[in-house]
Symmetry: D2
Subunit: 368 residues, 4 copies
């Protein structure tokens, strides 16, 4: 038990269920002296707020953050920062049918068995995508911390269902375009196709998956602690905690498996007095340590498990086979709303490692 | 710093460098009463021992394990188990040229920068694939622990370079064939092609990558602690600590991104009085918790970074561009020797979670 | 940084400041199926609530708990339990004078230096005794968990200033009397003297310290993990986190230093078919593992640091010597209100270790 | 299980039994660039080596350290440092009688019960005082790290049995005298009496306890992480892991319980431009954070549990009462040999916190 904390120097403890009073986070280890207001958090939370477009769940939530501790006069104090966001638009009765009939693709069955039937099944309870709001709260702080050392974190949708972007995308395109379309794709044309892919699936009572790419620029050389707290393993661990993630790859990723060493190795050169590599198949990490090149990773999401189509399941009390049809509200594709979550997860791990490696000091700003 | 321990109830602390006196492991949290001898460990270590076939490094090592603590009269005592394996065939002088000239694809540059030039660069030092012997030591114990609850862990090569296996492989085929050919592929025909792929790369002074599939059978429902110590995130973290791993996916993996929910969801049924799913796109894990279905994952390895071909690099002292040619001994493909390492990593995480979830008791066998 | 979590299987993360919005706790790792309501927590919180007697601070707080997560239909779910208790009777302006003038005996100076002047100094901020309400929240849950395996935790005041109890006190006396008098002493006569000792100090604008004894009955043999997570070391660590604690001893404690081995060793016997020791100088722990005898410990508290008397201090901005007179509300003796805190700390560590040792299962009660 | 690691940034994992092949330690998180040789460790180990005086066990051990990893060319590399010290003078057969007859005062009974009879009982096995050699290995490194920032750690015997030192002892006296007499007392006269106290107990087939005072000078302000990783709680936790410790107190300690606030508070002043306190009843720690004043603590040791006198015990197989007489070799008083162990424990925690607080950098010395 007790797996709801992550990080070593910057530690996120999260709590809350989809249809309980709130979801929240305690962020411990944040250096003192960081300017921080509720607005800083809110800006990031708004990116993943439901009910904003035709392709997201109609659940209406304000997702308004409240800060309970750890700040004073607009700055962090070094004490743990607790934040919550209340659940308002809850429909608990909508979930009575799943109490003993696990929805295919969801955690219903494994959770039921693990927790002896005591887990909160309403809307997936603790297993809802809604818990990722906690990750975003932590990510908002992490991004501000990374800003102190010039690290920027980006993410964008590169695939929805069978639609992939095929051209190389510049950092500027990502920065400018990602939050300009509902699918969070940096390239306008495929963005339109991706949206159609989602709407088509939704009409069919079905859902689609996709892929998000995450990037970090300006990462200093030397983040990551071999061998077990390597930077890539910690990033991967964080990303696999986003519901629906089924694969994570760095740099050339799975494609590297079919390359030759001479094709995959990134040769070194000196540019502007700095060591750089001429390619970045490593995705910015070698031996578990950041190289100073951009960190590049991709995260594969499965299609949303909640679909309207009739599906086979079992009744766990009667122990007999049955079927289920889900009427509830859900995103036909989690990928667009996962973009800020991937950003947050990547930012969180980088900030944790930057503090750990001594790159972010424990008191920011001037002594008061 | 201090990232050389992993696990929560079963904890592996590892140490040692490629060309230092030894590599070793301390395994803490192993239940008392497990029958354990050096032979148990040796059997597993032999699977990854170098110098056994034409496609592995000519480095000759006996890789003989010595147990220093934690056992008494042939049983574990509940105290930490320390084991080492000495390094014998070391060629430290072979590495003088890389002291200030980082090899492309290796950790040389990032380690040099992180540790201020103090890291042991000989043979990659702490970043050598040789450290995975420590993982195998832990894996040997983990497999024995899992045996108590009927869990079996398997791994096999499914891709080397551009050669992939295309047919479905049964568990029996894997069990019987994997250690029968040098590439550790469960299907004889592609195994031959894979070996050729490696030999061809070696002749060209080049290297190739590949993919290993890991499986676990008989896993009880309920392993994994949401949200941050989910079973898949912990397995992924462990696997990304194997040098050269660039991607990890579970079940349908990256392919799930292009599936519909109705295609990807695993519907439930009852077979022999037990809840099962009719497909296993989830790879045996939902919501971070094991479902009782086989755990299925794939790990992508990049091609070996050490290649004979001349490559561009930089001199870190003179800060000028230069080239490097590596003469040293190396595997032209790490994948075959990684098969027992993937087994070990998967077994280790499962054993840790099985103890954590109370599925493996803290004292095995009868009180003496 | 990031020291606001404690425990291994039952993990308490706490947050909040004396004059911020609230203090709170996240308890992770609580088994599913524990009946738990806000009243269960409130009962314990009421024991340490301020403003109840003539000898405690006049600060008036309702200390009403709100549960935010982790329970469903009156039972714990296995998910983290977040609770808060709002601060209402705050007088922030009362603390402006201490902003740069550290109060002797308080954390003001060390906190100012550590956090670069960013820490919340109002009422001690994060260093206030008020944070122990979080410990009591966790203790309330821990006591309920321990109840499942028949473990009972008690505490009582054995010394206030120069008044000590001299007779041996039975468990029944403690159970019946402790919460019957304002000093939480199990023996009525010294209780009266203790109260006078406090009132006298208060009249003089001064304060007094004291000693609390903690006990645990029915503890199973085998709790504690040598060598570093031994039961006594974990209990001591928890107790030293109560503000004002300056010493902790087990069993014969410091007195053991002047005993002979033949006097101090607890000889074994068999009573009612069970191994017992004829004395309990060990205080129920040998080799860091519980022996099955009652756990007995004593905690020494220094006198409250806040006193009305004029004291020498320094101005940290002007870097010159000055004086300070404190007008604020404070307990002239923290010991009486520390009694439930010691109970909670002891209960928390025992519950953590009982889960860790597999003595408390991960699902309580019958599957639903 | 798995309690054999301690520390957050500097992590000690220890292993080994009294009569197994060796005892050892893995120190992880040591900054790179620290000059370190086996001699550095040996010097400290020699202070606790058995068989050196008339008042210590006649067991003869060379206690020669071997370093297995983590150093290169005389400097630490940032990788984990594994060290062992072999056991040579073992008499396993001497312990057959205690296999099922627990010695009073020892961990025999609790260990037997916890580990189902599988624990190594020879010489106390994992519970032997010999495991503290691992603490000294870690302490040797910690002292060198602390030397970089001008922190000095001292310890001295202040009580043996009923003999206490009564005068105040200067730091110089401790530095000069402690290792000049067999009891490690800084004052020559009581040292003689203490030695007699031990010899007298030994002659009677009995043993005595005592008290060690530990001090740290030059500690920077700001070490310690409230609320749960406070400096005092972490030091106390480490100290309680030394076998035979029954009490730990800081500064005025238990005596503070009977003081008034006005007596116990340490008033501030400015000396040589630095904030100091005029007294040091706090023992250098307030709110769990170092204040810059010397850290002062006392550790109470019970008398050695192994005594020659006949004692009552039970036979755990036959479940009947019986008696035991111990012939084995043992120290009649553990206190003198505990002095370097207390030094090591204190140094280890301070070094861990100094790295954690960023006071010791992660690379020492000049880049090579």
């Amino acid at each position: 038990m007790s797996g709801n904390s992550i990080g070593r120097t910057l530690v996120l403890t999260c709590f809350g269920e989809s249809h309980g009073p709130c979801v929240g986070a305690v962020i411990d280890g944040c250096p003192a002296g960081l300017p921080l207001t509720a607005e800083d958090i809110q800006t990031e939370l708004n990116k993943r707020k439901p009910g904003q477009t035709a392709i997201s769940t109609p659940r209406k939530e304000e997702d308004q953050v409240e800060i309970f501790s750890g700040t004073f006069n607009g700055f962090t104090t070094g004490a743990p920062i607790c934040m919550i966001m209340r659940n308002r638009d809850v429909e608990p009765e909508a979930y009575e049918q799943i109490k003993h009939k696990p929805r295919p693709g969801h955690a219903d069955y494994s959770a039921y068995m693990k927790y002896g039937g005591f887990s909160d099944y309403r809307g997936g309870g603790r297993f809802s995508g809604r818990v990722t709001a906690s990750y975003v709260m932590a990510g908002a702080i992490a991004k501000k911390l990374l800003g102190f050392i010039g690290v920027e974190v980006l993410a964008h949708t590169v695939q929805i269902g069978k639609v992939k972007i095929t051209k190389n995308v510049s950092f500027d395109e990502i920065r400018e375009n990602v939050y300009e379309n509902p699918v969070r794709c940096a390239v306008p044309e495929p963005a339109v196709l991706m949206e159609k892919e989602i709407l088509k699936a939704a009409e069919e009572g079905d859902s689609v998956g996709g892929v998000v790419e995450g990037l970090a620029l300006g990462v200093p050389v030397g983040l990551g602690e071999p061998v077990f707290d390597s930077l890539d393993s910690d990033i991967a661990k964080m990303l696999f905690n986003i519901p629906a993630v089924k694969g994570v790859e760095f740099g050339a990723g799975l494609k590297a498996a079919s390359l030759k060493g001479s094709e995959n190795n990134d040769e070194y050169a000196i540019q502007k007095g700095k060591v750089v590599s001429l390619t970045n198949n490593a995705g910015g990490i070698l031996g578990g340590i950041s190289t100073g090149m951009p960190i590049v990773l991709r995260v594969a999401f499965k299609p949303t498990s909640s679909i309207a189509k009739r599906q086979k399941t079992v009744d766990l009390i009667k122990m007999e086979e049955t079927e289920i049809e889900l009427a509830g509200r859900h995103d036909p594709c989690v990928v667009p709303r996962a973009v800020p979550v991937v950003e947050s997860c990547l930012a969180f791990v980088l900030a944790d490692h930057a503090i750990r490696a001594g790159k972010i000091p424990q008191v920011l700003g001037t002594k008061k």
